[in-house]
Symmetry: C2
DNA sequence: GCTTGACTTAGAGCTTGCTCTAAGTGATAA
DNA sequence: TTATCACTTAGAGCAAGCTCTAAGTCAAGC
C-alpha cells in the first residue's frame, strides 16, 4: 500500500504519516526496492492504533515511548503495561470532566429552549 | 478579589487570566479606582465557566464568540443557543471516541495482566 | 530519451494556547 | 521619601502538533 492509499484509508495526510514515522510514533514502514514506502498490514495496524490514541488526545511523547518499548521486545512488557495504565487513568479523568461539561451544556441549552435564561451569573451553579 | 486571589481560587495563572480578558474570552473585569483588576462575583463566574469549557477542549474562538454574543444582549439568544448546541454536539462526538479508546486501553491492559499479549498486529481488531 | 508526477528527505513555517519579558505605575512600609 | 512589590500594558517567546517548501530521485508513458 502506498502512502497515498494509507492516507485516504485513515484520513491522515501523507505529511502526517511521514511525520509520525520520522519521530518514531509508528515504527519504520516497509519500503519497496526503490525506497518508496510500502505499508504492509502490520504498518497499517500501527497507523490505525496511533490514529485512535491521538484522536483521544494521548500525547505524542507517551505514544513514542510505547512504540519504543514495544520494539525492545518482551523485556519491556511491565513498562508498557505501566504506561498504558497511566494513560488510561489520565483519559478516564478527562472523560469524567468532559461528561460534566456536556451535562452543563445540555442544562444551558434546555434553559434556552424553555426561554428560562437568566443572566450568566445565575446560571453557573451547575 | 485581586487577580492573585482569583488565580489561586481557579488554578489559572494571572497571565492566563489577563490573556483571557485581553482576547475577549471573558468580559472586561471590574477595576479599582487606580485601574487594578477587582474581580466581582460576576467576573468570577465567567472565569469559572470559561475554565470549565476550556478544560473540556472547547475552542477559544467559539467561546469568544459566545461571550461577544452574550454582551450583545437578548437579541443574540438564538445565535447563542445555536453555538452551544454546535459545541455540545462536537463534545458528544469527542466523548464517544474517547469512551471507545478507553475501552480499547482497558482491553489491552487486561491482556497484559493475563499475560495474553500477542504481537501488536493481532491486537488491533478491538 | 525526455517529460510527468508521485515519491523521497531535511528543515522551515504555521496555529493554538498559553507564558514570559520589559517597561512603567502606584500604593504601602521603613 | 524612598524602596518594595504587586499590579499594569504591549508584545515577544515557547511547546505541541502538524503542514508546507525546496530540492532531489525514480518509474512509467509518449
Amino acid at each position: 500500500m502506498t502512502i497515498t492509499e494509507v492516507s485516504k484509508k485513515y484520513e491522515l495526510s501523507a505529511d502526517t504519516l511521514r511525520y509520525y514515522e520520522r519521530i518514531g510514533l509508528i515504527p519504520t514502514v516497509h519500503r519497496t526496492s526503490s525506497g518508496i514506502r510500502d505499508y504492509l498490514e502490520e504498518d497499517c495496524n500501527w497507523v490505525e492504533f496511533i490514529k485512535c490514541m491521538r484522536s483521544s488526545g494521548l500525547p505524542i511523547e507517551a505514544l513514542i515511548e510505547y512504540v519504543t518499548l514495544f520494539q525492545e521486545g518482551d523485556s519491556s512488557v511491565d513498562a508498557r503495561k505501566k504506561l498504558l495504565i497511566e494513560q488510561r487513568d489520565l483519559l478516564a479523568i478527562k472523560l469524567e470532566a468532559m461528561q460534566t461539561t456536556l451535562e452543563r451544556l445540555n442544562y444551558k441549552i434546555k434553559r434556552y429552549e424553555n426561554g428560562l435564561m437568566l443572566k450568566e451569573n445565575k446560571l453557573t451553579k451547575l
